[in-house]
Symmetry: C2
Subunit: 162 residues, 2 copies
DNA sequence: TTACGTGCAAATAATTTGCAGTCCC
DNA sequence: GGGACTGCAAATTATTTGCACGTAA
């Protein structure tokens, strides 16, 4: 009997609560990104448009700043690394992205901001979404006195079979 | 055969002056640091002894390299940061420590190497163990073809109640 | 003795910041 | 035009490395 999802993640968000509507992103990416930026109150500049396009133009992605920089460069979009970092953080603040801490060294940004968890492939340093129904946190632990839970992150670390 | 010898720690002037009962070393089956190091094949040098003492002398701990460095310095144990890093990694390799990736920026080392999960206090950047029975990963997800699971990490992020 | 350890300082890697110049509204 | 945005380079932070010297077995 498929019990209802046990995973309950208290999604305590400050400020703007609504998740940006990306349902229409299948259409003209350029137009969509501009609307998306307007919606969250970010000025649709050339570089933010281009980065938004790269980020949200092809499904769920997990990128580091460096990866996005290379991709932008490859796409002939001249953006500085500093702007990449700024943009990633701004997008995260307004809820367009989610930062995931899978690996100690670098920060990954996830275009899927709904509640879900991750595989992390050791060695390749690759991040994958875990299919939604696949991980269940049975019992959310009781936080210590005076604290509240902001998020529960599950990282399933993988290695290539020998 | 002499019984387990007193560990010689140079001039420890912190509050924890007394020699801890080694039988109470939670998660550490060895009876003293020297034996512990021998057992894992590491030469018991002065600095490794001192760091092992600090790490395993008082229950489960979550330390960064910087924290351990400061504590060693405070305890009048002259150790360089490079040696701290070397030692932490060597200890991790032989299974005395476990590295936890809770926060993107710095690496935490946990003296509790048994299977368990963590609270992470945002802002304070503090790491706490979650009581053993408190989190249950109900269903381990199926890894993608060709991969096997090495570990499942659960991080429950906390914030101070306002 | 001699290989393993250690300290120091310089080298990397990831990210942030200061500030002058640029561009959207 | 003015304030938001961007780029560059220099600054920070966390960690690693190269190499001469020290020390446990």
């Amino acid at each position: 009997m498929a019990p209802a999802r046990t995973l309950v993640i208290p999604n305590v968000k400050t400020g703007a609560e609504r998740l940006p509507d990306r349902s229409a992103l299948t259409g003209c990416p350029w137009h969509d990104v501009k609307a998306m930026l307007r919606e969250v109150g970010l000025r649709p500049t050339r570089q933010r448009m281009a980065l938004g396009w790269i980020l949200f133009g092809k499904g769920d992605r997990h990128l580091t700043a460096e990866m996005l920089y290379e991709e932008a460069t490859r796409a002939k979009v001249p953006v500085s690394l500093a702007t990449i970092y700024n943009t990633l953080h701004q997008f995260t603040e307004v809820g367009l992205l989610r930062q995931v801490a899978v690996d100690g060294s670098k920060a990954y940004f996830d275009t899927n901001v709904t509640a879900h968890h991750h595989f992390f492939v050791e060695g390749d340093d690759e991040v994958l979404d875990i299919p939604d129904a696949d991980v269940i946190v049975g019992k959310t632990p009781t936080p210590p006195e005076g604290f509240e839970i902001t998020r529960v992150d599950v990282v399933v670390r993988l290695r290539r079979k020998t």
